[in-house]
Symmetry: none
Subunit: 227 residues, 4 copies
Amino acid sequence: MTKQKRIGARKEQILKAAEQVFAKKGFQQATISEIAREANVSDATIYEYFPTKEELLFTIPFETTRKGKKDLLLHLSLIRGAANKMRALIYWYLHFFEHHPDYGAVVLLILKSNREFLKTDTYQVVREWARLFVDIIKEGMESGEFKKDIDPYLVRSVILGTIEHSVISWLLIGRPKDLLSLVDPLTDLVVNGINKEDAMDTSRWNINISLERPQEKKISDMPAENE
Amino acid sequence: MTKQKRIGARKEQILKAAEQVFAKKGFQQATISEIAREANVSDATIYEYFPTKEELLFTIPFETTRKGKKDLLLHLSLIRGAANKMRALIYWYLHFFEHHPDYGAVVLLILKSNREFLKTDTYQVVREWARLFVDIIKEGMESGEFKKDIDPYLVRSVILGTIEHSVISWLLIGRPKDLLSLVDPLTDLVVNGINKEDAMDTSRWNINISLERPQEKKISDMPAENE
Amino acid sequence: MTKQKRIGARKEQILKAAEQVFAKKGFQQATISEIAREANVSDATIYEYFPTKEELLFTIPFETTRKGKKDLLLHLSLIRGAANKMRALIYWYLHFFEHHPDYGAVVLLILKSNREFLKTDTYQVVREWARLFVDIIKEGMESGEFKKDIDPYLVRSVILGTIEHSVISWLLIGRPKDLLSLVDPLTDLVVNGINKEDAMDTSRWNINISLERPQEKKISDMPAENE
Amino acid sequence: MTKQKRIGARKEQILKAAEQVFAKKGFQQATISEIAREANVSDATIYEYFPTKEELLFTIPFETTRKGKKDLLLHLSLIRGAANKMRALIYWYLHFFEHHPDYGAVVLLILKSNREFLKTDTYQVVREWARLFVDIIKEGMESGEFKKDIDPYLVRSVILGTIEHSVISWLLIGRPKDLLSLVDPLTDLVVNGINKEDAMDTSRWNINISLERPQEKKISDMPAENE
DNA sequence: TATGAATGAGGTTTCATTCAT
DNA sequence: GATGAATGAAACCTCATTCAT
């Protein structure tokens, strides 16, 4: 193992321990000592790798989110159609929480409500990741799959808000039992809520049929805009 | 002013101050001293009315939620149609946060992720309040306004999740600028997503027409069921 | 009931409650609130009768000791002989504790080790009471019942020290079971230890023992038994 | 200095300071800050070595008592005769207090009346130490030096009670001036009070005649109770 | 006389963080 | 690089006590 890797491994080890302890105890109740114990290092060693307890917390989602975005881009590139892609996003996010409840607790119960987190590099990575949702929605709008007059940011809020609300409920009170059971109902609700065939606003209870799929746009074509 | 009222007033005064300080500083960073200063009482006086700092926090939404439910029931009784009632709920909730950002910060940034809060009486009141959403959704399902095969709890998660996610964003990064601008798009998305006329699921873009509205059910008929 | 008497009764009521609570909790752990509750008065009322918590404590033995001295003087006047009187003192003191354990706890566990108590009026009454012991001992010395070369203050320390040590043990660990069983052995030990007929001093016994002494046992041989 | 020794030294340093401050101020009035100042460490350092203020208090007599017992066993092994050994015990105990008044104040004014202390390990060590007294008395009973019908626990109470009562008096009001002046009078009183030569029970070695004695009550009438 | 209500004052304890080794 | 040992800083909470009514 190279020196570089050894350092990386040690850092990973501490981050893993921190994730566990923060998830179980919350930020304030968690102590550096307990994290150090869990990571089999001394308290002081943690400070060799992270300047403060808060920085340690903020670092937890960094790599995960960066890799998550990379993986998602690959998956999405294999899928045709904005609605299908949206389902993939929803599936992927719920599936991830289902298998990483500690991570979910750290991100949704601690970081999501932390004002300081907004100033971090990690938050920037999270924003980039979250832009995927907007990109897909815009793609659907441009392709004609989705209505033109929707607010993609609202739609993203619907998706993220619903998922995160549900995961919090799952973490704290155990309901729903199974996160993945939400994938299809949520996808359906959102897609039905925004798809082109829905004529709600122009004419009440009208009929619209779209038989052909529009051309997919490549994700890499999407502009890196501000949110 | 009667003795009863004086005590109530003092309690209210402290709760108001606590709401402000908790909203600005968060739970841990807020100090009893600062709350006391804000409330123009001594530290010790706070402990005459609330046994611990945490209990003080937990008490903040009690009356508000209780009254909120009562008010909502009145409003809803004046509205016909589940979709219209749902819009009212969404409007009311967003409108409330728009005018009570400190309250929003306390509830959404502090209490929503607090495991201990789940054990409180206040939480029970919040649950009762949240049942209103489910009741309306079920009303729509029974009346035929909404599809029969939706999960009312998921729909509630969509509404609450979206609103709360948006309010957090509004509180922390100032976007969206105007919470009430979300009312119609969100209502439309949800109602379109679940309404009867829309028989489509993601695989089939089908056509369904429903011209007549079914009979409304009164809210007061709704069973007080467990969730 | 005259006004005077009503006040006295209220004071007595508070003192009784204080005795109970102090005995059960100790001085610091006892609270004015608990004493007030026990006495069926408000906290503030206690301060109508006693200037401070400490003064309340210090007042507890005042009347009891004053009356105790008076009673004892009567009893003693009926008894002939210093040894008999000494037995009466011992009996009286142990009997009193046997029937007033709360009082014993207050006096022996709290007041006896309190430096401030030495400055009080109550302490002066206690000193007068304790002088009875010295008086009896001196009486015995003068009458020839006791040796002339004893220190009456030491003898008093033996009596009071033994009794108080025993009562503390009785209060805290329940041994001895019966305080009054100590009366005669203690009286005998002290009276034999100081009476005229006993002409031995420590320098002379060694001569008497040499021949018939059993073998010494080494301390290290002693079993480490439970007591 | 080895690490082990350094830790021991630091602990000792804190215990010494605590002894001083507790002795001067009492338990409640003493503050951790003052102890820390006296020990030249920070407040927090005290909590590295002792979990609570009360535990710190309870630890003070641990080593001293353990070593005291060990030393006493050595001394006693060099002395022949139970009476002589008893004098040694009395001497040793008074001598110790004479030279360790702070320790005396902690043990006699604070710990002796503390119910919680009875649950500690230190108290068990004290009990073992106190058994030495009983062992010596029993030795004297078996050897024939002391009467057979005495209660060794009462005799111990006489010795400990007298000494502790006297030391408290010495500490609080400065009388007696010299603790060691009590050694011989107390030894004489006790030994005379219980020795075999005492004419009370028609001992074999007696050369004394008692003409004016009032009727004794037989010790053997008393129940032989447990301590 | 009695008390409800208010508070001043202060100490124990916890930990994140530092630094010499 | 790793850590044992030390500590600065701070805040909750408790009650004895006061005083207007």
